[in-house]
Symmetry: C2
Subunit: 144 residues, 2 copies
DNA sequence: GGTTGACCTCAAGTTGACTTGAATTCGTAG
DNA sequence: CTACGAATTCAAGTCAACTTGAGGTCAACC
């Protein structure tokens, strides 16, 4: 399978060379050879970059992403951890849905103040309920 | 309507005082009075903090969030912009759904290498298609 | 009316994710 | 075989979003 050198990976993926070098450095996406000085990557790297972009847009750190799809494109986490991650993402999807609905409401509702609109209030209650569960006990404790 | 001082807001929301001061400083969530030196906030601030948490978890910057729900809890953007934001979030939900499915697949699939599994490949193709549209032309141009 | 504890300010430090710049090294085309 | 251009290294810089620390202030309770 033929290798791509850094310039080609950069062009095809839209990721700047400096970033590719950085990812290589931190071990997120490794170059597998050199052509002279030039880093070369497997074509697989393009796929990995898609996954990285996906993960980043979801707000995951590069560390997180490395854990989900290991440095070799294979996951290095036990499947339980992966499923936990998947569930976290599910919660996040719920959050985003609420946020999206809130924005649409705010754009459309003609009430004088959104904060007084009952349907907006309902969205906000939803928003509150579904935050990071690790915080919830802390908050309940102090609000009582 | 009675005001809450910073300590109470911090406890009820789980957000550290230093962060509240920071948000006040940058104008994201403003304190409305002082009790001696002590910052005081409207109860509304708690709601705003929920929205901020929501937005952050979705990967938005504080700037973005300020734009969505203005510093007074009122949106200061024209409704068109808000709807554009909502659509962005919709795309993001699609991304996250793909990512979640990919993780679940990776956790469950018994193929020797996920990268060779046809159903994983299918997820990845999806992932590629739905990225930031502003990049697409650049990539298409250079991959030809 | 003095002590306490939670707050204050302001400057500086931290972390993650990169980018930038200067000086250098290759491979290829002429 | 030399010049060019694209890549290299390494150190330093940048930006967002906070946190930390030193030194000061104030309201409230005893």
């Amino acid at each position: 399978m033929k290798l791509l050198d850094i310039g080609e990976v950069s062009q095809r993926s839209g990721v700047p060379p400096s970033t590719l070098r950085y990812y290589d450095e931190i071990g997120l996406i490794r170059s597998v050879a050199r052509h002279g000085l030039r880093r070369q990557f497997e074509p697989l790297a393009l796929t990995q970059l898609s996954l990285v972009a996906l993960g980043k847009s979801a707000g995951f750190s590069l560390q997180d992403i490395a854990g989900m799809f290991g440095a070799d494109g294979q996951p290095d986490l036990p499947r339980g951890d992966l499923l936990v991650r998947a569930d976290e993402i599910d919660r996040q999807i719920g959050n985003l849905t609420t946020l999206r609905d809130a924005l649409r409401h705010v754009a459309e509702c003609r009430a004088p103040s959104h904060m007084e609109c009952p349907s907006f209030q309902k969205l906000l209650r939803l928003a509150k309920r579904r935050r990071d569960p690790s915080q919830q006990s802390k908050e309940r404790a102090s609000s009582e």
